[in-house]
Amino acid sequence: MLNQHPEFAEISKAVRDQVRLLLDEKDLPVRDFGSEDRLNDLALTSLDLASLVAALETKLKADPFQELVPITSVRTIGDLEAAYVRFFSKSEHAAQDDDLAQIRRRAEARRGGSGGCLQ
């Protein structure tokens, strides 16, 4: 399992390792590929993409396609990587928002629940 908020390099490695594994399972030539490479050109189908997403959910503990990113927008390896980057970036922002909300609650409590709020 990766860090809670993996860096791009970790995400990219996880995505590409999984793609290589899938190509190998399908007995397709495992060649070098980059962000610009289209999944179709690698002979990966939409069912393969579903399998990739399921495997990456196990590995990264994340599924960006449930709410954040439409699966139909994924055409390339780069699109796939970007979806996970976006997911973790959003969850980091959400964590920051949670921290801020907690600080606000504490400040309100210190003021005896006077109804004031930090601006």
């Binding site: 399972e25 069912l47 579903a50 399921a54």
Partner: protein, 248 residues
């Protein structure tokens, strides 16, 4: 009796009573590992848990089938514990009876949520596991009510016909990954649902049935066991009607 690598893990929804209980019991008897859930523990489940405290062959969780997060936790627990899901039997469901136009809308929600949405949730989580493993078998327990019209069961019929539609589409979608998807549509069989019928009604159904009787639970279970076995390895996308010929 299966052993070692041959031990297939079968997930059965709603295995605490009725047909689900019979399926769990027979699958355990045939050497399968069985994972099931229900909303509450039953004497049958309690006994199985006591017989297998290490959960080597039997796994149960308290899950509301309409709670997707709960279903996800259950499937994750099964896959982490046993490392595979070889077959899924979507058995959980409820009956819903009454004149459609006078039903409460909440009754429609309840039946659709459990029979259709609950089944779709469980199938979604298991299918994600199966496509990675490139194999598996999914059985949907539907009903002859999804095939023929019956007054008073419009909502139930809609959910069961929905399952049959899901069966055909998923069979096409998942077939390339070696996953078979089929429905089994029981007719009237001795169950809590049929217990509500009086003797005259049961006799009338038996008279209309070419094989002259109502089905037993064992009639249904036997077909499920056949369909999850390697003997049915070239059958997918079908609705197998088990009704003694009532609908033929």
């Amino acid at each position: 009796m299966r052993s070692g690598a041959d031990r297939k893990v079968v997930v059965i929804s709603g295995g605490s009573r009725g047909l689900g209980m019979a399926l769990v019991s027979r699958c355990l008897g045939e050497g399968y590992v069985v994972a099931t859930y229900s909303r509450s523990v039953s004497p049958f489940v309690k006994k199985q848990l006591e017989l297998d405290p290490d959960r080597k062959n039997f796994f149960w969780s308290e899950v509301d089938a309409t709670d997707s997060a709960g279903v996800k936790r259950f499937v994750s627990g099964v896959s982490e514990r046993y490392g595979e899901i070889g077959a899924l039997v979507n058995n959980a469901g409820i009956g819903s009876e009454g004149i459609f136009a006078s039903m409460r809308l909440s009754e429609i929600d309840l039946c659709v949520d459990l029979n259709l949405k609950g089944t779709l949730y469980l199938t979604w989580f298991c299918a994600r596991f199966m496509i990675q493993r490139r194999g598996g078998c999914i059985i949907n327990i539907s009903s002859i009510a999804g095939i023929r019209g019956h007054s008073g069961v419009a909502v139930y019929s809609a959910t069961k016909a929905g399952l049959d539609g899901m069966t055909r589409s998923l069979a096409r979608e998942l077939g390339p990954r070696g996953i078979r998807v089929n429905s089994i549509a029981p007719g009237y069989f001795e169950s809590e649902m049929v217990d509500q019928l009086d003797d005259a009604a049961k006799a009338r159904i038996a008279r209309r049935t070419p094989l002259g009787r109502l089905a037993t639970v064992e009639d249904i279970v036997a077909v499920v066991l056949f369909m999850i076995s390697p003997s049915a390895s070239f059958i997918t996308g079908q609705t197998i009607v088990v009704d003694g010929g009532l609908t033929c």
